[in-house]
Amino acid sequence: MDTKRQTGLLLVLGTIISMVGWIAFYPADPTDAAAVWATKLIADPDMAVTGMVLGFGGTVALLIGLFNIARRITMGNGAGSSYANVSTILILATITLLVVVAGFEFTVAGAESVQAVGPVVGVAYAMNSTMPLVLGLAVIALGVGIALEKTYQIKNLPIVALLGVISGVILVASVIAENTDWQGIGWPVLMLTTLALGVLRLRASD
């Protein structure tokens, strides 16, 4: 499999799998309070683990796809390379955060009670709260990089780049304003961005 096809598949399938995992299987919502969130995971551990494997797995896959795109722009040394370079590093940091948070959530799902894993719940919740900030900044930088490179355009319009910047700004704002409801808009817009990027990457001629 060549890297172009791989990147496209990672973005498209990663987006779909993560959405299935988070929406259809994962028993909690991002807007839940820490104790409610942990209680929901503990109440149905099998469903929670399935949701986590699909959700975290899909999200890591789509982030590797974004990483490939950012790195490609960086290596090209074009107008957007400096922004894509920042995005590359932030995406790697986000993947690491996801790996660590997945470990916390697996432990919470396998616990007997919320009290038994109180500190783990607190740390996982704290990390979950700040992850959109890092990812948002990464996507903003990538969106700006794509716009400056004038790539991934739809009918010569930088729609995908714009979607990326919008989703990044919403995700960053949700953390700063401490309003998790905004993530209900930020995440779907980000998913739309990655899906569009994946399709465009698969259809690219180079």
């Binding site: 096809r5 790996v99 660590v100 894993v117 500190p119």
Partner: protein, 202 residues
């Protein structure tokens, strides 16, 4: 020192140091209860710190070595590049995760009381729960990359895939024997890749 020699030394010495540290210096075992582990780490702090630094240092060296192999595969292009690429990203995440875990365990050795130490160790154990899964996926992809790129003996690719699959199963099986098999498989993979690299360098 050329890059090949560096990678092979990281893999071989990392494996030796990791096993020596975790089996002979590190004062506790994963099968023990969290309270016992915390007490052991807090009792002889010098020994515990040496075990943590050498053990996790060895693991980080091994992962950095495998990261170097997967990056080379990606940079060369070819049939194994796409697999090496994903393995590379996952190994980077694992290095950061391992360093964080080592820092938390060092914090346990310096904890003021058992409750604080136990709290830190529980967080570290939680972080560790998905490490085998991510490592397993990375190793399996590295094995597939080796198989397609044919840059190592096909047996090395097979070891990577077998060790990778064992590690993927580990978090779901909760079996001590499987945990040991996963760790030993990881060590064997690092050693075989390191020795192959060293022979190629020579």
């Amino acid at each position: 020192m050329d890059s090949k020699m560096q990678t092979s030394l990281l893999l071989i010495l990392g494996t030796v140091v990791m096993f020596a540290a975790f089996f002979f210096i590190y004062p506790t075992r994963p099968v023990e209860l969290a309270r016992e582990q915390t007490l052991n780490l807090m009792t002889d702090t010098t020994l515990a710190k040496a075990g943590i630094v050498l053990g996790y240092g060895g693991v980080v060296a091994m992962i950095v070595g495998l990261l170097g192999v997967s990056r080379t595969m990606f940079m060369k292009g070819g049939a194994g590049a796409s697999y090496g690429n994903i393995a590379f990203v996952l190994f980077v995440a694992l290095v950061a995760s391992m360093i964080a875990r080592a820092c938390i365990e060092l914090g346990v050795t310096g904890a003021p009381d058992l409750t604080s130490g136990l709290l830190l160790l529980n967080i570290e154990n939680a972080m560790a729960s998905t490490t085998p899964l991510v490592m397993g996926v990375a190793m399996t992809l590295l094995g597939l990359g080796i198989y397609f790129a044919k840059n190592f003996h096909v047996g090395v690719g097979a070891i990577a895939i077998i060790a990778g699959v064992i590690n993927i199963v580990r978090p779901f099986a909760d079996n001590n024997g499987l945990d040991l098999a996963g760790l030993v498989g990881f060590g064997i993979l690092a050693l075989t890749v390191g020795i192959s690299k060293m022979r190629a360098s020579a």
